[in-house]
Symmetry: C2
Subunit: 228 residues, 2 copies
């Protein structure tokens, strides 16, 4: 190593954050927030530390484990739950997860490949389970319902992100909808869809999310005891 190189390396070491699990997750999360999950690459993350991708493997077994840690970080940032009635708590929980995920692009897609075993996930599950059981929901119903509500939140949030991306910027959205409408009208094969096209395409993402959420809550309530 020449003296110049040594000096250059020392200068880099001063300027750049030192490698650590937290610092690596920081960088990866910044890429997720600005460009999306698919733009995270071991090479790009490593470049932020002026090194090559191999350096990251001292901290994470592979890319999947790194992304897993990024998701855990985001889940830990979800505000904790409040409320007494389990309906209120489930509603508040779902909305705050949705809102938090919405601030991190397509992070929701990671929820599918991920067993929620982090401290944050467990704390949330514990709180929900407690409130539901104390509220008169049978333990089996509550246990399984928590899974299903989590699945719904992840899927709906990810879908909304993708829909937003598809229609980003230009008037593509209006074009696609009107194409769809004229396809339906010109063909007599889909009379119900044609007749109800306005209601099919109505509502904001929030309204539709809340609608599904209330449907799930009603479904749980149908298997729970009377409100108390």
């Amino acid at each position: 190593v020449s003296p110049q190189e040594a000096r250059a390396r020392a200068a880099r070491a001063k300027r750049r954050p030192r490698l650590s699990k937290d610092a690596i997750v920081d960088v990866a999360l910044r890429i997720v927030d600005t460009e999306g999950v698919d733009e995270v690459s071991m090479r790009r993350v490593a470049a932020a530390f002026d090194t090559g991708p191999a350096s990251l493997y001292a901290y994470f077994a592979n890319k999947d484990e790194l992304l897993h840690s990024v998701l855990d970080r985001v889940i830990d940032s979800i505000p904790s739950l409040t409320g007494a009635d389990w309906r209120e708590v489930v509603r508040g929980y779902a909305r705050s997860v949705r809102e938090t995920f919405a601030g991190h692009r397509d992070i929701a897609k990671l929820t599918f490949a991920h067993i929620p075993a982090g401290e944050g996930s467990l704390a949330k599950a514990e709180h929900l389970l407690g409130v539901m059981i104390e509220g008169g929901v049978p333990p089996r119903v509550a246990s399984w319902a928590i899974d299903i509500v989590s699945l719904y939140i992840g899927a709906a949030t990810y879908e909304d992100y993708l829909a937003g991306q598809r229609f980003a910027g230009d008037d593509l959205a209006a074009d696609m909808v009107s194409d769809f409408v004229s396809t339906l009208n010109s063909s007599s094969a889909f009379p119900y869809l044609a007749r109800h096209i306005d209601v099919l395409t109505s509502g904001t993402p929030e309204e539709r999310f809340d609608f599904g959420l209330e449907m799930l809550i009603a479904g749980i309530a149908a298997q729970a005891g009377p409100r108390r």
Copy 2:
């Protein structure tokens, strides 16, 4: 081109399927079925035709469009619906989609990135919408509910595939569950989870899927008129 090369090329042309949209989708679907969506690459698909990836771009604008066509093919293979009561039809629909997807590995993950605008998807949506409206479900509830049920089917089916993969072959599953149980028992931070660990981890994927499905149907029914 030398005479030998010309002969070799002619021989290949005889032996190999000719390029066409359908033939390309065939090959891609075969890879999905045997190895999963992530193993599909333009290079591998093209190799089945003894050519390079560039050849596929005469038929599909990009890899996404090819995978989209693969999903449409699978959706078209879902048996059509029967039944009178909308509850029965929704139940039968959900189960047959789940079953069909289960035969194509992780195909369900494509449903998130995909607007279901194929002939097959529209026909299914039309049938569901008709049965629900005629059964007394308000049009707005029916329209939105179809979206939510579809979302649920896709998410649950994909999740089940991933869970199956995680625990494939060895006794990793039992290990992970018992690790989880001892974590919960050793920590007093999660009393409800610890007390209900048996019910949390109980049930087959089918049972849990059906449970969520009944929850959704109950949720729709709560907003529908009386059964008739």
